[in-house]
Symmetry: C2
Subunit: 198 residues, 2 copies
DNA sequence: TAGAAATTCCTAGAGGCTCTAGGAAGAGGG
DNA sequence: CCCTCTTCCTAGAGCCTCTAGGAATTTCTA
């Protein structure tokens, strides 16, 4: 039981591992306590409550993923950077489904600011330096990247691509190709005089 | 208490409403029973278990969304169809966050086949008739559409766009513009002799 | 070095959720 | 009128969350 074995960080780490094994739904404070060889009541001294534990896993995952992204981006530019970064996202989602799911819990502004969320968008902006985009198009493009990455990983993870023989790897590759040409051919701000949609 | 007031469909409907109000996490069998004025034990005679209730909500949502999509697509083609359909997705996600989240639960193949999931991909393929795409590009494009729609709605829903002043509506509009040009300029199958990524 | 303070861990227990088992009470058919 | 089916109930076990209060151990401090 080793007194002092339980810290907030260690709890979050154990929770993240558990979440990856059994899914974010199955990640309970009780089970984390069990794995740490400690009574569940004790964990509430380190983490506020069950939701806060999920938030901690989210923060942890955000940071891990940002670290991997930074490595992938180092020394790369243009499409190469885009693909490397995208692959990091997808690989992380498949390797760590629980952590990945946790990243989608809503963070309060305070926590969000302290998290690695900003690093994520900064890295996407860095990728976009390979494509000539001014604000606000750059922000829109960041959101497009985020949507495609997250959407694909999420759909793939929930089995959405299993109903068709086409391999997910191939689709992913083509999606990134398309994203590359789309960013290069980013449409002009006010197309043809009128609102485009809505 | 009106004997016979509880059927599997009515339970799913009440569950969907509850999920929209309190989130999919907060949607419990107990609370649904409470709202139907019935003891929770009773509901287990209609639905197998809590997970099955979520599945029922997912199936319900898939069907509702497919219906709306069909309406949006009627009489439209090309980019107009793309935008109308995409808006249906986003609006549904904002109107019915609980139902929308439920759609991402993993369905067993049996349930998936019986669900409206197929209608969704068929409709996306219909949209793609406005763009010249053969298989397997068409499948890849369907997955791109799904990823962008779901990714954007999901990120917006979890507050991912609130850290920047740029309005989500504007970004959405530009994202769809970009998607339109991307589909039009869909890159050739084997670009420049070698593998593109991975 | 002994006492005080802080920290870590515990037991106990309330209250909620899931789900099973078994029983009562209407509703329709013979 | 009785039989059966269905709907609904109570009881209760097991797990989870979270609070309260107490014991043990480490660390500060005089």
């Amino acid at each position: 039981m080793a007194r002092g074995a339980v810290t907030a960080d260690r709890v979050a780490e154990a929770a993240a591992e558990l979440a990856d094994e059994v899914g974010l739904e199955g990640m309970t404070v009780s089970e984390v306590a069990r794995r740490l060889g400690v009574k569940d009541a004790n964990l509430y001294a380190h983490i506020g409550n069950a939701h806060e534990l999920r938030v901690r896993v989210a923060v942890l995952a955000l940071a891990e993923l940002a670290d991997r992204g930074a490595v992938a981006l180092a020394g790369r530019a243009g499409k190469e950077a885009l693909v490397a970064f995208a692959d990091v996202y997808r690989d992380y989602g498949r390797e760590h489904p629980g952590r990945y799911a946790a990243m989608r819990v809503e963070l309060d502004p305070e926590t969000a600011r302290a998290s690695a969320g900003r690093r994520h968008s900064d890295m996407m902006r860095a990728i976009l330096r390979g494509y000539a985009l001014e604000e606000p198009d750059q922000t829109d493009a960041v959101r497009l990247l985020g949507s495609v990455f997250h959407g694909f990983v999420s759909l793939e993870g929930s089995g959405g691509f299993r109903h068709h023989p086409r391999g997910a790897d191939e689709s992913w590759s083509r999606v990134l190709d398309t994203l590359d040409v789309a960013l290069r051919a980013w449409p002009a701000s006010a197309p043809a005089g009128a609102e485009t949609s809505r």
